[in-house]
C-alpha cells in the first residue's frame, strides 16, 4: 500500500477530484474547433462530473481503492444508458441487452461519422456517444493516476489526448487560449496535490515529519511548474508540427475510411468502385423499388463535378446540418416554364452499403430514413454522417423534369452556374479538342452540340465493353484514358460519360457526371398491383449531366446499350426543320437489357487509383503521429531527468533526486528490480563490468552514501548538525551538490557502458522507469526501494 494514499483526508481527496475534473473539462474544450455547437461539451462535462464525483463519493464511503475505478466504469455505463439508452433501458438507468446493442450501433456509427464528416462536424448522437465514452474513459484514467497511483504529474497524459486531436485534424490546431487554460488547470491540479499532501502529513505525522515538511524538501513548486510548462510546450510543439506537416487533413484522411468495403464510401474512387462492381461475376442485389406510376428513373448516388485532368472527383463540402431530407432544395437553374411532375417511389435497400443514398435527380423530399441524412447543395445528393444505406426503407418523391427541345435550344449562355463546371486543365490532348471542334463546330446551339456528341458516342463505331481497350488502369476518366478511348472506341459507361462530359466542357457546356444506378429490371412480382423493380450491382452506371440555362441539369446517355436515352436528346426529336446532324444514326432503342458481362474478362484496374496521390500524404501524417506518440515516453523521461538534475543542482533533496535518477537510468537499461535498498542495489551494480573502473565505483558508493544519509541519517546532519557530529561525519558528510551531479553522470555512464546498443535505444524510447513509478505506487519493491 502506498503510504501516502491512505493518509489523504476525504476533503483532500475531494479537492484533488475537483482539480482533476476541471483539468478534464478544460482539456475537452480543445475539441471545440472540431465540432459544431456547444451542447456536446456540456454533455462531456456532465459525464466527466459523474465519473469524478461518483468516484469521490465511493471513496468517502470507504469503498476499497482498487474497486473504485471499476465502479466508476459502472457509473459511466449508467450515465451512457441514461443519455443514450432511451427506451431500451429499464427506467433510463438499467441497461438491457438491447441497450448494449444500441451502444454497439452508436459506436460503429461514431466510427463512420468520424470517417465521413469534415470539420466542424455535426454533433449527431453517434458522435456524442463517442465523445461521452471517450471523455468518461479518460476521466477514469485521470482519476486512477491522481487518486490511486498517486502520480498527478502523469495526469497530463489523459489530458493531452483531447488537446492533441485538433492538431491532427485542422490547420490551426488547438486554440491557444484553451491550451493555456489546460496548462493552468494542470498546474492547479499539481498545486492542489502539493497542498493536500502537505496537510495530510501535518495532520498524521509526528514532529519529525512536520519538521520535514516545514523544511521544504518535498515537491519543489518550481519543479512542477517547470514540468507542466514543459508538457504545455510539448503539446504546442507537437500540435504546430502536425499542423505544419498536414496542410489540409480531413478527419477521414487521418483515421482512414472507416467504412471499409462500403460502396463509394467517400466518393474518392467512384470509377474504381464502379468498374469493380460492374465486373463482379454475380450481380449483387442493390435495392428494389416500387413506383406506382411506372416511373423508371436513374438513381444518383453521387455527382462528380471537378475534373483535374487525371480524375473526376467530388468537390468536398461539409455537411450542412440544416439540410435535412424532409425537404430537399430546389433543382439548380430549373425554370418555371419547364414542365415537371412528381413521382413517389418506395425504395427498400437490402444489400448495398454506402453512405450515399440512391435518389433520382432531382427529388423534392425523402421520408422514412433512419439515421442522420443530409442533402448537398447543388447536386442534391444525399449522404449520411452516422449510418449507411443498409436496410433503409424510404419513400422518395422524384421530380421529373420534361423540357422541350425548344426550351433546351433556347438556352443561352450558362450564366447562372458555377464556372467550375466548365473548367478543364490546360493541357487538353489534341484528339479531344479536335473531336470537340468537329462535333460542336457545326452545331447552332449548345443543345445541338450536346446531341451531336451523344450521337457520336452512340454510333456503331463505339462498342460497349468492360474489357478495356487499352492498358491497365483504364478504370478512369482522365485525359489519357479519354484519348485512348477515342482511339480504341471501346469502353464502358465510365469512358462514355467522362468523354461526353469533357467534350461538352470543351464545347462550352457546363457538365458533370452522375454515378448511380440505371432503372433496374422489373420482376414479375407485384405488390398491391405495383411491379417491383430490382436493381443490382450490374446496374451501376455513370452518365453525364449537362447544364442549360433556364432548364438546369439535364441527363444524357452516351453509353450504347445502357440506360434510357432521354426523349429530348434524340437527334431529330421535336425538330423537323433542320437536321443538325444528317449523318447521325438513329439511336438504339432504349434498352432494358444489360450488356453481357464476362466475369473473367475483368480489368486489372487500380493503377490510377486516385487514392494513390493521397496515400503518401496519409502515410506521412500517420507516421508523424505515430512517431510523436512513440516519443511521448521519451519526452516525459527527458523532462523527468531535467527536473531531477535541477533538484540535484539546487540541493533540494539532491541525494534523493540523484539516486532516483540513477535507479531510473538502471531501470531503463533493464537493470531494475534486483535489490530493495540503495545498499543492496549498489552491491548488485558494483558486480557489473562497467563498475570495474574504480572511479565509477567510487562515484556509485558516494551516491549511495549520500542517499542513505538523506533518507535515514539524522536530520540535523543536513541542516544544523552539531560540531562534533559534523567532525565525525566529515568523511561521509553532506557533499557539494555539484560533485553529486558529477558522480551521477559518472555512474550513469558506467551503467550505459555495459548496455547493448539495443538496450540503450529501448532505454531512450521506452523508459521502463516510468512504468516502475506507477508500479511503485502499488507497493511493489523496486530498485530505489520505494
Amino acid at each position: 500500500m502506498h503510504p501516502d494514499s491512505a493518509a489523504l483526508t476525504v476533503r483532500g481527496r475531494l479537492a484533488l477530484t475537483t482539480a482533476s475534473f476541471v483539468l478534464m473539462v478544460v482539456a475537452t474544450m480543445s475539441l471545440g474547433p472540431l465540432i459544431a455547437g456547444g451542447g456536446w461539451w456540456w454533455l462531456c462535462a456532465f459525464v466527466s462530473a459523474g465519473v469524478f464525483f461518483g468516484g469521490a463519493g465511493l471513496r468517502a464511503l470507504r469503498v476499497p481503492a482498487g474497486l473504485v475505478p471499476v465502479l466508476e466504469g459502472v457509473v459511466l455505463l449508467l450515465l451512457l444508458t441514461l443519455l443514450f439508452g432511451g427506451s431500451t433501458s429499464i427506467a433510463f438507468l438499467v441497461p438491457t441487452p438491447d441497450t448494449f446493442a444500441a451502444f454497439g450501433e452508436l459506436f460503429t456509427g461514431s466510427q463512420r461519422t468520424i470517417a465521413q464528416q469534415t470539420v466542424p462536424a455535426v454533433a449527431v448522437p453517434a458522435l456524442n456517444f463517442a465523445l461521452a465514452l471517450g471523455v468518461g474513459a479518460l476521466s477514469i484514467m485521470l482519476d486512477l493516476l491522481v487518486q490511486i497511483a498517486r502520480v498527478p504529474a502523469l495526469a497530463a497524459v489523459p489530458a493531452l489526448v483531447p488537446v492533441l486531436i485538433p492538431g491532427f485534424l485542422i490547420e490551426s490546431g488547438v486554440d491557444i487560449p484553451v491550451l493555456v487554460a489546460t496548462a493552468a488547470a494542470y498546474l492547479l491540479l499539481l498545486r492542489v496535490d502539493v497542498r493536500v499532501m502537505r496537510r495530510a502529513r501535518i495532520e498524521q505525522g509526528d514532529d519529525e515529519d512536520v519538521a520535514t515538511v516545514a523544511a521544504p524538501k518535498r515537491v519543489p513548486v518550481a519543479s512542477t511548474l517547470g514540468a507542466s510548462l514543459g508538457v504545455a510546450a510539448t503539446g504546442l510543439v507537437v500540435a504546430s508540427l502536425l499542423t505544419a506537416s498536414t496542410p489540409s487533413i480531413s478527419t477521414s484522411l487521418l483515421l482512414g475510411n472507416g467504412s471499409q468495403g462500403a460502396l463509394f464510401a467517400r466518393g474518392v474512387s467512384p470509377f474504381l468502385d464502379l468498374g469493380r462492381d460492374l465486373r463482379r461475376p454475380e450481380a449483387r442485389p442493390a435495392f428494389r423499388y416500387l413506383a406506382r406510376d411506372g416511373d423508371r428513373p436513374n438513381f444518383t448516388l453521387l455527382t462528380l463535378d471537378s475534373f483535374e485532368g487525371d480524375v473526376w472527383a467530388v468537390t468536398e463540402s461539409p455537411v450542412d446540418g440544416d439540410n435535412t431530407v424532409d425537404a430537399l432544395g430546389a433543382p439548380e437553374g430549373l425554370g418555371a416554364d419547364v414542365e415537371t411532375s412528381e413521382h413517389p417511389i418506395d425504395v427498400l435497400v437490402n444489400e448495398v452499403r454506402t453512405t450515399w443514398l440512391p435518389v433520382p435527380y432531382p427529388s423534392t423530399r425523402i421520408e422514412g430514413l433512419s439515421g442522420s441524412w443530409y442533402w448537398d447543395d447543388g447536386p442534391l445528393t444525399v449522404r449520411s454522417v452516422d449510418t449507411n444505406t443498409a436496410g433503409q426503407r424510404y419513400e422518395v418523391t422524384r421530380l421529373e423534369v420534361e423540357p422541350t427541345v425548344a426550351q433546351l435550344r433556347a438556352a443561352g449562355d450558362p450564366r447562372s452556374v458555377d464556372p467550375r463546371f466548365l473548367e478543364l486543365p490546360d493541357e487538353v490532348p489534341p484528339i479531344i479538342s479536335e473531336t470537340a471542334a468537329r462535333l460542336a463546330g457545326p452545331a447552332a446551339t449548345p443543345y445541338d452540340a450536346a446531341v451531336a456528341i451523344q450521337a457520336f458516342l452512340r454510333s456503331p463505331d463505339f462498342e460497349y465493353s468492360t474489357e478495356a481497350p487499352v492498358e491497365e488502369g483504364y478504370d478512369g476518366g482522365g485525359f489519357e484514358v479519354i484519348a485512348a478511348f477515342l482511339e480504341a472506341k471501346s469502353g464502358y459507361c465510365v469512358h462514355f460519360a467522362s468523354t461526353m462530359a469533357v467534350l461538352a466542357r470543351e464545347a462550352g457546356i457546363p457538365s458533370r457526371i452522375s454515378v448511380g444506378y440505371t432503372s433496374g429490371t422489373p420482376t414479375p412480382e407485384r405488390i398491391d398491383g405495383v411491379q417491383r423493380v430490382e436493381v443490382d450491382s450490374h446496374d451501376l452506371h455513370a452518365w453525364p449531366e449537362l447544364y442549360f440555362e433556364g432548364v438546369g441539369w439535364v441527363p444524357f446517355e452516351p453509353t450504347p446499350g445502357r440506360g434510357t436515352v432521354p426523349e429530348y436528346s434524340r437527334p431529330g426529336a421535336g425538330q423537323a426543320q433542320t437536321s443538325v446532324l444528317p449523318t447521325a444514326p438513329s439511336s438504339t432503342a432504349p434498352s432494358t437489357g444489360r450488356p453481357e458481362l464476362d466475369p473473367d474478362r475483368g480489368l486489372a484496374g487500380g493503377a490510377t487509383d486516385p487514392l494513390q496521390n493521397e496515400a503518401p500524404l496519409r502515410a506521412a501524417v500517420l507516421l508523424v503521429v505515430v512517431l510523436a506518440l512513440l516519443l511521448v515516453p521519451a519526452g516525459l523521461r527527458v523532462l523527468q531527468r531535467a527536473s531531477r538534475r535541477r533538484r540535484v543542482r539546487l540541493g533540494r533533496g539532491a541525494a534523493d533526486a540523484a539516486w532516483d535518477e540513477l535507479s531510473a537510468t538502471a531501470g531503463d537499461l533493464g537493470v531494475a528490480g534486483i535489490g530493495a535498498t540503495p545498499r543492496v542495489f549498489t552491491a548488485f551494480l558494483a558486480s557489473r563490468p562497467g563498475f570495474r573502473d574504480a572511479e565509477a565505483l567510487a562515484a556509485l558508493v558516494r551516491l549511495r552514501d549520500a542517499v542513505e544519509r538523506a533518507r535515514y541519517g539524522p536530520a540535523s546532519d543536513l541542516a544544523t548538525g552539531g560540531d562534533e557530529q559534523r567532525a565525525a561525519n566529515a568523511a561521509v558528510g553532506p557533499r557539494p551538490d555539484a560533485a553529486l551531479l558529477g558522480d551521477l553522470d559518472s555512474a550513469c555512464r558506467a551503467l550505459t557502458r555495459d548496455a547493448s546498443v539495443r538496450d540503450r535505444v529501448i532505454a531512450v524510447l521506452l523508459p521502463k522507469s516510468l512504468a516502475d513509478r506507477i508500479r511503485r505506487a502499488s507497493g511493489v519493491r523496486t530498485a530505489d526501494g520505494a
Partner: protein, 347 residues
C-alpha cells in the same frame, strides 16, 4: 534525541556506561570491532558470521543463544570473545541438579566475623557462558534469566549489581532433547539473538587439527581492546541514530510476523526493541552513525527467528527441527515488506 536506556537500570555503577561526555567516534568503533572480529577469527576459522553476531549482541547489551551440536566451538567463541575484549568470563555447565545458588552465589556463615557473607557465583562476570542451558531445571534457568533481565542478583534481601557489560552466551543442543527442559518461549524471548555455528569446512577443520596439536589457541590469544574501550563502544552504539522510517520498518516487520499465516506466535514488542538495538550495534560496527534498513535486514533472522513459532500446518512434513523453515519465513517477510523511504522524500 537520546535513546532510552534499559528500563530501571539507573544505579550508580551505570556511570561507567552512561557517561555521555565523550562519545567514541563512530569510525573508531568500526575499527575496534574489526580488530576484535579478526582476533577471534584466528581461533575459530571460517565463522565470521557467528563471531560478528556475537560481538553485535555484546555491543548491543543483549544476550546470545547459540544453538548447535556439541563440539563446534560454541564455548570457544564465547571465551575468545571475552579474552579479546579483556573482560572476565565464567562458564556454567548446566545439569539437572544445578541449583539457583550455584549460578548466582550463596551466603555462607563466616565464623570469624560471625556474619553471613555472600559468595558471588559464576554469574558475576562480564561474559557468562551457560552451557547446555536446557539441561538445567526450570528453577535454575529462571534464576539465570532473572539475572539477564535485571542485571542484578538478590540474595537474602540484599541486591548485588552485576558488572557491566554483562552478556550471557547460552548454548543448547537442538538434537538431543532427552531429559531436558526446553526453554519456554517467554524465556527464549529474553535472548537478543540466536545463531548457529555450523560445522567448519574441511579446510578449516584440517587447519584446526594442526594448530591445536600442542596447546590451546586461547592461551596465545591477546587482548586487543580494553574493557574501557569496549564500554566506549557500547556508549557509542547507544548514540547511533535511528530514523523514523527505519523504526517504522522494524515495527512493520514485527507486525508482519504476527499476521503471517504460517506463524502461530509472532515477534514480541521486546523483539522489535532488540531488533533496533542490534541494528544500531550493527551500524556502529560498520562505522555508520545511523541505522539503515539493511542493518535490520541483516539481523532479522538472528533476532526474530528463535522467538517465532510456526503453525503445525506450516511445519507439516518438516521434522522437529523447524529452524530452516522459520528462517525461510522470516526471509520471505523481509522480501515482502516494503523498505521505507526517508522522510525527506517527496510523495
Amino acid at each position: 534525541m537520546s535513546e532510552v536506556p534499559f528500563g530501571g537500570r539507573t544505579g550508580p555503577h551505570d556511570d561507567a556506561l552512561d557517561d555521555a561526555a565523550s562519545v567514541m567516534p563512530i569510525d573508531e568503533v568500526g575499527v575496534l570491532a574489526a580488530r576484535v572480529v579478526a582476533n577471534v577469527e584466528t581461533v575459530i576459522a571460517g565463522k565470521r558470521d557467528a563471531i560478528t553476531a556475537a560481538l553485535t549482541v555484546l555491543l548491543a547489551e543483549g544476550h546470545l543463544l547459540i544453538e548447535d551440536v556439541p563440539g563446534v566451538g560454541k564455548t570457544m567463541l564465547a571465551k575468545a570473545l571475552a579474552r579479546s575484549v579483556g573482560s572476565t568470563v565464567n562458564r556454567i555447565q548446566f545439569t539437572p541438579d544445578l541449583l539457583p545458588s550455584d549460578v548466582t552465589g550463596v551466603s555462607v556463615f563466616d565464623q570469624a566475623s560471625r556474619r553471613f557473607e555472600f559468595k558471588r557465583g559464576p554469574v558475576f562476570s562480564n561474559i557468562v557462558i551457560g552451557d547446555e542451558i536446557n539441561r538445567a531445571s526450570p528453577k535454575t534457568q529462571a534464576a539465570l534469566l532473572e539475572c539477564m533481565e535485571e542485571r542484578q542478583v538478590t540474595a537474602d534481601g540484599t541486591t548485588y549489581r552485576l558488572d557491566l557489560p554483562f552478556t550471557v552466551v547460552a548454548t543448547q543442543n537442538p538434537v538431543e532433547m532427552e531429559g531436558t527442559y526446553p526453554l519456554p518461549e517467554a524465556q527464549r524471548d529474553r535472548f537478543m539473538a540466536r545463531v548457529s555455528m555450523g560445522y567448519p569446512s574441511a579446510v578449516d577443520e584440517l587447519a584446526m587439527l594442526s594448530t591445536r596439536e600442542t596447546s590451546s589457541p586461547l592461551d596465545r590469544l591477546d587482548e586487543v581492546i580494553t574493557l574501557d574501550e569496549l564500554r566506549g563502544m557500547i556508549r557509542a552504539v547507544r548514540h547511533v541514530f535511528t530514523s523514523q522510517p527505519v523504526k517504522e520498518y522494524a515495527v512493520e516487520l514485527a507486525r508482519a510476523t504476527r499476521e503471517d499465516r504460517q506463524l502461530r506466535l509472532g515477534a514480541s514488542p521486546r523483539a522489535t526493541l532488540q531488533l533496533i538495538r542490534a541494528a544500531k550495534a550493527h551500524a556502529a560496527m560498520h562505522g555508520r552513525e545511523f541505522v539503515l534498513p539493511d542493518d535490520i535486514d541483516a539481523l532479522a533472522v538472528a533476532v526474530l527467528a528463535h522467538r517465532l513459532v510456526p503453525t503445525s500446518r506450516a511445519v507439516g512434513s518438516h521434522d522437529r527441527d523447524s529452524g530452516p523453515l522459520i528462517d525461510a519465513i522470516v526471509g520471505r517477510i523481509i522480501a515482502q515488506t516494503p523498505v521505507p523511504v526517508g522522510s525527506a522524500r517527496r510523495n
